[in-house]
Symmetry: D3
Subunit: 172 residues, 6 copies
């Protein structure tokens, strides 16, 4: 290992410490030489409920109360802590996290999270963590009524910024 900024694929060559196993190793990508640009990502998750449950929850009838403000707060807080949860993610100074909810028919609720920063690496994982924790919070607040809830389609919808530029999921 040296103190010179290194391209990730050359890490082992430059390192003073050799790899001790024959196989590959997990690693955080070195972004020192990447350009700082405006980065934005949007992800979603869909919470599917047994028939009739979403209506009861909307009326605040779950044992833990109304869901959306609590789930939004939990998702925003978690998105800010992405670097603590996902091992190979870089810690980022986020400029924005927004979480919104929309019904998908009578028995499903879609969660979307938009994350943004000005930095050397993308904010996809922040958006993915944001929707996941918001959806898990909804699950938690509803599970006392029925455990047969399922979180589906946790996926990236769109990203912009960085060398690879704009990307949009075909399904979005």
């Amino acid at each position: 290992m040296t103190t010179r900024p290194t391209e990730p694929e050359k890490l082992s060559e430059l390192g003073h410490v050799k790899m001790t196993q024959d196989g590959p190793e997990s690693q955080m990508v070195d972004v020192s030489r990447k350009e700082s640009t405006d980065r934005v990502a949007v992800a979603r998750a869909v919470v599917e409920f047994p028939a009739g449950l979403l209506g009861r929850l909307r009326a605040g009838q779950g044992p833990k109360g109304p869901m959306e403000e609590t789930a939004r707060t939990a998702g925003i807080l978690a998105a800010k802590r992405t670097g603590e949860l996902i091992p190979m993610c870089h810690p980022l100074g986020l400029d924005h996290v927004a979480i919104e909810f929309q019904d998908r028919g009578e028995n499903a609720l879609e969660v979307r999270c938009r994350s943004a920063c000005h930095g050397r690496t993308g904010v996809e994982m922040e958006a993915m963590v944001g929707v996941s924790v918001a959806a898990l919070t909804i699950y938690d607040m509803a599970k006392g009524l029925d455990k047969g809830i399922r979180i589906q389609r946790v996926e990236l919808l769109e990203k912009s910024g960085g060398k690879s530029g704009h990307w949009r999921a075909s399904s979005s």
Copy 2:
């Protein structure tokens, strides 16, 4: 509010502070009077990959290296922090968290998490958070090759302990 242990539904009656809004409010359930029992839960998530990607990742070809040990570690660490992430969850002294992976055909990987404690409330959310963060870590380590990965079927499979006893998902 008083210092007597209270049933959750009576909280507002006993409280010295009245509710300031007409509607219901979110709340953490008071488990002071629940019995301490052995609690176990098993949850799963399924990571779906574009065709061929999982094979390449298995060979360690992702930019962040091999996935499973890193994802297991991330999932276990996150399960232990469930009470920090999910607002209305109680902090729990977990006795066990295990995370395992199994191929579901050529293009999907199933993650399962088992959580256990001896306490006054269940460990369902710990298992749900464990599989979610393990699956998100896999997504993170693979997304450099293809962003079209999707996390599906995040759901509880089984739980035991507590007043409601044993429960098993019809789909498990």
Copy 3:
């Protein structure tokens, strides 16, 4: 230092390591020999607003939106992390945290937090941290309209459990 449970005042006598300064040192109290009992505490904080501001906030006109559900969520999450914030506090498995709000005239909002656990030490700090972070969250959501907000009377109102038994503030 030895592995025998020790009374806190005897720590230095028993220790293999002598104190290096003449003066006293901060310490976490050893509660190993205390009895596990039901512990409850109630604390409050009062947020004082410049004239008219509370009404505007109640109408959701702050730049960060409506306050109470967000502040309740933040306060509950922080109460659970008291042992991470307050150095000499013991980590506790809380059974309950509740936060409520009540108007105190036209220009003040009182926050109350009730915390409960079954353990060897009290939950006063959990209630104090809960009201503080809830009040700070309200400050944060309102400060874009007027910075002249002040948090007052952060204090314990009542506690029960443990050797010292029930205590109630004269001002509560």
Copy 4:
């Protein structure tokens, strides 16, 4: 939701996900387009003690030992974690946090916290969290002698940087 940087007030217009409730929602302000400037804030809290208690604490007679270094450390650590505690705050790379104490007569101790960063949003909440956690730590270290301690006047004294420029409390 889109990946374009958005003014906060237009978020819902641009969003692909409609609001599901008639009322307003909490949100983190999008600071992507704000200018990075030097930001500084100073806040205070005043800890009021029952007569005579502060003198005893100053002599290190509390059950948890001397207070100031421990409270300073706790306050600095907490100020750095403001974005984890206050939901709608942005995570910030602080350049400086300082906490100082000054007697206010015989029975009160004033805590001040100065926070600074170079960034797109202010550091008021970091200073407010710093004084709050420092004051709560003092409360914790003193409460074994007397629970009738009260934290008062948690408020911002001064801020500089950003579009709104320099601001000073009339009471400072």
Copy 5:
């Protein structure tokens, strides 16, 4: 995976999910069936300074000020968060953490940490994390004067409680 408490060595047999790699996998030990007993551990670390530096630091001449109270606070806080840092450690409700310092000749400072809980697993890692973070804090506060400081002999000195009973290092 099942919801029955399992002996760790039988986990893979019982599991519904097969291991996907030929080799062994990391795991958190299942302590559900272990007995709750009083657990205590004592660990140490020795900080070695270039000649003369410790004397200057004792006089408070480092750029970050006097060391011991700050290092004690940091070590106690970190010991309480051991389960967040060390992946396969169980989260524990500690009853006690104490950190003390003692000169070892003119150029070395020994740090000792004692941790205690009543639980199903030992507190060795809590004591090891406590001395490590206290020693790292001393390093941090001194490194502005000389970077040639070294932390040595981070090791367990003694433990008691649990099935394996009392253990004492030959070197202690």
Copy 6:
């Protein structure tokens, strides 16, 4: 205290709050006026095992499984949280953390950590925390076989960036 950026040594002069003790106080250095440069640091720790133990661990025979991927993940995650653990450290947006392992003869394992960022202060503590937590994780995974493991030579090997420029340990 004022809102002007201050040189650390002048803090008390400028402060509105006087020091309340005669002695010096701990402080976070104000880096507001330091230049942002590329910062890199490399640190190491050496884990010494009783004879024969390292070979058994390499074969995955410890009760918690194979060590290196888990220890690397733990070390990287901890390095990112250095500002939460070490009180006077600044929170940093790291561009890179890498951890590698190399045998040192038959009974010792060297851990190295490289950390990098573009910022106003160095990343030495991030590298020191990274090797410490990676080494502690190895200790944790091995201690079930033998508690006589010792972490040695936790030290900085090299740093670059900032006003003091490049530095290399004589022992590296």
